[in-house]
Amino acid sequence: MKPVSLVVARLVRNDLRRYLVGGLLWLPVSVIPLGSGLLLQQIFDRIGGQRVAGLDQILWLCAAFVGVEVVRGLIMYVANLYGGYWWDAMATLLRANVLRSLLTAPGPAAGRQPHSPGESVARLRDDVSDLVELVDESVPLAGTFLFSGAALAIMATVDPVITLVLVVPMIVVGVLSRLMSEVVRRLHSRARGLGAAVTAYIGETFAGVLAIKTAGAEDAVLERLREHNRERRDAAVKDRLASDLLETSTSATVEISTGLVLLLAAPAMRRGDFTVGDLALFTSYVGWLTALPRIVGRVLFRLPQAAVSTERLTRLMAPHEDAGHLSRNSGVWFHREPLSPPGSVPDHGDPLEVVEARGLSVRHDGSGRGVHGIDLLIRRGSFTVVTGAVGSGKTTLVRALLGLARADEGAVFWNGRLVADPGTFLVPGRAAYASQVPRLFSESLRENLLLGRSGDDADLARALESAAFEEGLAEMADGLDTIVGPRGVRLSGGQAQRATAARALVRMPDLLVVDDLSSALDVETEKLLWDRIAGAARDGRGPATLLVVSHRQAALERADQIVVLDRGRVAGRGTLGDLLENCPEMRRLWHEERVVEAEERSERPARPGG
C-alpha cells in the first residue's frame, strides 16, 4: 500500500465509529436541498397556474420550505460539533506521533528537522491538517455525488436534453478549476514569497538602522523598498485575480447554466411542456450542482498534496519509522487527563564506573569542521574539560557522545559495554546535559526545571543553588511560579544558562555534561558555579562525574583531565600542568585566556584581581 493510502486508511479506521456516524450525519446536509428544489417547483407551478390550488396551499408549501431548512440547519449543527472531535483527534494523533518520534525515538534527531523550528511547526500544522482535511473531504464528496445523481435524475424526468446539456458547463468548471488550481497555487506562493521578502527587508533595514543612518543611505534603502513593494504588488494583484477567476468561474457557471436553461427551454415552455415550476427547479439545482466539479477538483488537487505531506511528515520521523508509525493509534485524550509519564526515572542498576568514546568521528558535510577519531575516557568522580579554539569541534564532540549528532565512525561504551544508541541511553539517570544555547519554554520556572520529573521545592532549591542561580530566583516576583521563556520573563543569557544547568542537576545524573557557558557568564560567576557543582559532587548531593566544555581558567585548573581539540583532532590530553609544558596549542589558549580574563577583571575596578 502506498504510504498516503495507508495514512488515509488509518485515519478512517483509528476512530471508525466517529468517522462513520459523523459522515452519515453530514450526508443529509448535502442531500436535503433536493427537497427544497422540489418544493420551489410545487410553489411556482401553483403560482403559474399549472396546478390549481388555493393561496393557503402555497403558504403551507412556503412554510415547508422553511421547515426543510430548519431541519438541515439542525443536522448541520449536530454533525459539525460531533465531527469536530474526529477532526481534532486525528490531527492530534499525527502530531503526537511525530513529536514523540522526534523527541524519544532512537537515533539522533539532528538532521531530521528542517533548518528552522518554525518550518517544522508549519509541517505539523499544515501538512497534518492537509491530510485530515483530505479524509474529511470524503464525506461532502459522497454527499455531493448523491445529491448530483438524484438531482440529474429528477431533472432528466422533466427534460433529458436540457439536463444533458447542463452537464457540459459542469465539466468545464471541473476541468478549469483543475487547470487553474496549479496556477493559483503557484501565483499564491510567489505572492507570499515576495510578501515575506518585503517583511524580511524591513526587518533587516531596522536591524541595520545604525549602519544605514551613519552612512546616510536612507534614500537608497527606501528606493529598494519601493522596488520590493512594486514586485510584491504585481504578484499580489495577479494572485488575487487568479483566485477571483476561479471563484467567478463557479458563479458564472450558475448564471450561464440558468441562461442555457432559458435558451433551451424556450420552445418547450411556449408549448407548456416546461413549466415555471420546472424553471425554478432547474435554476435551484444548477446552483447546487456546481459544488460537484468544485469538490472533485479539490479532492484531485489534495491527493498529490497529501502524498507530499505524508512524505514530509515521515521524514520528520526516525529513519527506521514509516507511514505506519506516523499514523498508528497512540490514543487521544480530549475528555480525560492524558496518561502522564512517570515522574521518576527507574533505577537503571548499572551505575557509572567508566564511560568511553572510541574513535569518534563526525564529518560535517564537506566544510571540514567536525571531529576525527577522538578517544575519550571518563571515570567515575572525575572532572573532564574539553577545550580548544572557536570552531575546533568541542560542541560537536559532546553532541556526538550524547548521540545528539550522528557519529560517522566510532562507538560509545558504558562500563565497558557497547552502547547501541547513545541518544536514548545517555539520558537521566545516566547522563544529563546543559547545552550552549539554553532553551527555556514559556512555562513556570518550576515546570522548566522539572519537565515532568517529580521533585519538591527543596530539590529545586538545591539544584538552583548548585547552579549559582539563587540570586536570580530571589529577584523573581513569583519565585518558582514565575513564567519564564520567550513569552514570559526574559532571563538574561547567563541566567538562562544557569537555569538549564539546574535543569540538568535536578535530574541527579551519574554524568553531568555542560557545554560552554562562557558566552553569557562572567569569569566570577562561572568560577562560583564550578565551585558549587564540585562541592555538591564531593558530598554526594550532585552528580559525581563531570564533562565540561570550557576555556576558562577556573574550569581548566580544576580538571583531572583536559582534552585539547584543534581543528577536530586531539592536540593534547592530560592535566593543565602537563599540557602547559608540552602542548603548544594549550599554551596558546591559556595565554589568550589570561589576557581576556585580566581585561575583564580590569573592567571591574571595584574588585581588582577578583
Binding site: F65, M76, D88, P341, L426, L451
Partner: protein, 585 residues
C-alpha cells in the same frame, strides 16, 4: 472631546495616503457601478421570459431574451473581476505608499527611538498594520461599497415593482442585518479564545522543537508529548465552544434566509392571486430576494475585519506622530571635505532622553587629525555613549563635540554622514547582492573598485568562491551564508568604500577563529591608516595599535594619555592591566 478629534485627524491623515489618483478613482467608481447594475438587470429579463412564454410569444423572441440574459450574466461577472483587479491594484499602490512613508519616517527618526525597538516590532508597525489595513480597503471597496449599492438597488427595484413587498424586504434586511451583527459580536470572544488556544498549542510546539536536543538529552520527551496532549485537548474544547456559537450562527443564517425567501414567495403569490403582478414578476421578485443573500454575508464578514483595520490605522497614526528629537542646524556648516578630521570633546555631559540618568560627565578628549584613540571600560561605563555622540546619533546635554573644528550641532548632517563612518560589531547582512551589501543600495562605483576593496580587506578568496561574483545574493533563506568573521570584514569593506575622515569602531567582542581574527586586525590597521579613529576596544591586543587611551568608568574619564606614557607608568591602570595579562609593556 479632544481625544476623538485627535483620533479623527490621525485617521484621516493615514487614509489620505491610501487615496488613489483621480483617474484611478474614476475608473474604480465606473467599474463598481457596473458590477452593481449589471446583475440587477438580469431578473427583469427572466420575468419577461416567463410572461412572454406563457403568453405564447415566438420562440425567436424568447431565444433573444435568453441570449440577452446570458450576455448580461457574463458582463456582470467580467465587471466584478475588473473591479477586483482595479481595487486590489489601487489598494496595493496606496498601502505601498503608506509603507514607504512609514519606513521613510521611521528611518528619519533618531536612534533614541530605534534603541528602544526591536526589528520585529518595526516589521509589525511598518508592514503588519499596513497589511491589515490593505486587506480591509480591498474588501471594503468590493464587499461593502458594492454590496450596499446592490442591496439598495434591489430594494429600489422591488419597491417600484410592488411597494408592499419592497417594504417587507427593507424591514427584513434591517432586522436580519441587526441580528447577524449582534450574533457576530457574540461569536467574537469565543472565536478569539479558540485562536489563542491554537496559537498557544503551536507556539509551545515550536519552542519544544527548537529545544529538541535539550529535551532529548534530559529525558523529557514523553513529558513534552504529554504537554502536547494537554494543549490539543484545550484547543479542542475551545474549538468546540467556539463552534457551538459559530456553527449555530451559520445554521441560523440559513434558516433566516430561507424564511425571507419563503415570506417573499408567499407575498408574491398573494399579489399575483390578487392580480397585482404577473407570474413573471413573481419569478423576478423571487430572484431579487435570492440576490440579497451574498452581499449580506460579505458585509457581516467585514464587520470583524473593521476592528482589526481600525486598530492598525491608529497605530500607524501613532508612528507618524513620532518626531525627531535632534534639531536641524539653522545654518549648516560642512565638515572639511578631505583628509583626516580633528576630534575634540569639551566638557561633555550626557543623559539619555527617556530616563534622564546621567551617563557621561565632563568628558574632555582631543585627537589631532590621523590620531587613534582606544576607549577602555567595563560594560555600561559609557564608552558606547561617547561613540554615539561622535556619530551625532545624540546631542550632548552639556559641552560640545567638535569635528574638524565644527560643533556637530551646527554641522551639515549630510557631510557628517559622509565624513564620519561607523563600524559596528553587529553587522547586518542584507538578503541582497554583494554589491548592494557593500554600497547599502546606493549607486555602486565600478566593479573593479569593489573588487579591490574586497581583496584589500582579505575577502578576495571569498569573492572568488562566490557562484555569481558580485551578483551573488547573500543571507536570507536561499542566499549564500556569511560567517561572523566574513560579516565583520564586509563591514570594514563598507567603511573603506565610504572613505571617511573619522572612523568610529566598535570592536567585535565575540570570539572568532584565530586566522579570521588576524585578518580583521590587519584590515583595521589599514583602515585607520591616515584616518582619525575612535576604537571601542574589547581586546587588550588591539590597544597596542592606538595612539591614545582613555579609560572610562562611571561615565567619567578616569585615565587618559598617550599609550606609551601610560604603559611606562607602572601605577597606571593600563599598565596594571598589561601586567595582569602577563603581556610585556
Amino acid at each position: 472631546m479632544t481625544i476623538p478629534t485627535h483620533r479623527a485627524t490621525t485617521r484621516s491623515s493615514v487614509l489620505r495616503h491610501l487615496r488613489p489618483g483621480p483617474r484611478g478613482a474614476a475608473a474604480l467608481a465606473v467599474s463598481v457601478v457596473a458590477t452593481t447594475v449589471l446583475p440587477l438587470l438580469a431578473p427583469p429579463l427572466t420575468g419577461h421570459f416567463v410572461d412572454d412564454a406563457i403568453g405564447g410569444a415566438s420562440t425567436r423572441h424568447l431565444v433573444l431574451i435568453a441570449a440577452g440574459y446570458l450576455a448580461l450574466a457574463l458582463a456582470g461577472q467580467l465587471a466584478r473581476m475588473l473591479t477586483a483587479w482595479l481595487a486590489s491594484r489601487l489598494a496595493w499602490d496606496g498601502t505601498n505608499r503608506l509603507r514607504e512613508t512609514l519606513a521613510g519616517h521611521a528611518l528619519g527618526l533618531d536612534m533614541a527611538y530605534h534603541g528602544r525597538r526591536t526589528p520585529g516590532e518595526m516589521i509589525e508597525r511598518v508592514d503588519g498594520d499596513v497589511v491589515a489595513v490593505a486587506e480591509f480597503v480591498v474588501a471594503f471597496l468590493l464587499d461593502v461599497v458594492a454590496g450596499v449599492l446592490l442591496l439598495a438597488g434591489v430594494l429600489v427595484i422591488v419597491s417600484a415593482v410592488d411597494p408592499r413587498i419592497g417594504g417587507f424586504l427593507l424591514v427584513y434586511c434591517v432586522l436580519t442585518g441587526y441580528a447577524m451583527a449582534r450574533a457576530q459580536r457574540l461569536a467574537v470572544p469565543s472565536a478569539a479564545r479558540a485562536r489563542a488556544a491554537g496559537a498557544a498549542l503551536f507556539g509551545g510546539l515550536e519552542e519544544r522543537l527548537a529545544g529538541a536536543e535539550d529535551i532529548r538529552a534530559n529525558g523529557a520527551g514523553e513529558h513534552a508529548v504529554y504537554r502536547l496532549y494537554q494543549g490539543s485537548s484545550a484547543w479542542y474544547r475551545a474549538n468546540y465552544r467556539s463552534g457551538q456559537i459559530g456553527v449555530g450562527l451559520l445554521a441560523g443564517t440559513w434558516v433566516a434566509f430561507a424564511a425571507g425567501t419563503a415570506i417573499a414567495l408567499g407575498l408574491a403569490a398573494w399579489a399575483q392571486r390578487s392580480g397585482a403582478i404577473t407570474v413573471g414578476t413573481a419569478v423576478l421578485l423571487f430572484q431579487y430576494t435570492l440576490m440579497v443573500r451574498a452581499p449580506f454575508e460579505r458585509l457581516i464578514d467585514q464587520l470583524r475585519q473593521y476592528q482589526a483595520a481600525l486598530a492598525g490605522v491608529t497605530r500607524i497614526g501613532d508612528l507618524l506622530a513620532e518626531r525627531r528629537t535632534l534639531p536641524a542646524p539653522a545654518d549648516p556648516r560642512p565638515l572639511p571635505v578631505t583628509g583626516p578630521l580633528e576630534l575634540s570633546l569639551e566638557g561633555v555631559g550626557f543623559a539619555y532622553p527617556d530616563d534622564g540618568e546621567q551617563v557621561l560627565s565632563d568628558v574632555t578628549l582631543s585627537l589631532a587629525p590621523g590620531e587613534t584613540l582606544g576607549l577602555v571600560g567595563r560594560t555600561g561605563s559609557g564608552k558606547t555613549s561617547v561613540a554615539r555622540l561622535v556619530l551625532r546619533l545624540y546631542d550632548p546635554t552639556e559641552g560640545a563635540v567638535r569635528v574638524g573644528g565644527v560643533d556637530l550641532r551646527d554641522a551639515d548632517p549630510s557631510s557628517v554622514r559622509s565624513r564620519i563612518c561607523a563600524v559596528t560589531q553587529d553587522v547586518q547582512v542584507f538578503a541582497a547582492g554583494v554589491r548592494d551589501n557593500l554600497t547599502l543600495f546606493r549607486p555602486p562605483p565600478d566593479d573593479s573598485v569593489l573588487r579591490d576593496v574586497l581583496v584589500d580587506v582579505g575577502l578576495g578568496d571569498w569573492l572568488a568562491s562566490l557562484p555569481d561574483g558580485l551578483d551573488t545574493v547573500l543571507g536570507g533563506v536561499s542566499g549564500t551564508g556569511v560567517s561572523a568573521g566574513e560579516a565583520q570584514l564586509l563591514a570594514l569593506a563598507r567603511a573603506f568604500l565610504a572613505d571617511p575622515g573619522l572612523v568610529v569602531m566598535d570592536e567585535a567582542s565575540s570570539r572568532l577563529d584565530p586566522a579570521t581574527e588576524r585578518r580583521i586586525e590587519r584590515s583595521v590597521d589599514r583602515l585607520l591608516r591616515g584616518r582619525t579613529g575612535v576604537l571601542i576596544a574589547h581586546r587588550l591586543s588591539s590597544l597596542s595599535r592606538v595612539d591614545k587611551i582613555a579609560v572610562i568608568d562611571g561615565g567619567r574619564v578616569v585615565e587618559y594619555g598617550r599609550r606609551e606614557n601610560l604603559a611606562a607608568d607602572p601605577t597606571s591602570r593600563f599598565a596594571r592591566m598589561l601586567d595582569m595579562a602577563g603581556v610585556s609593556r
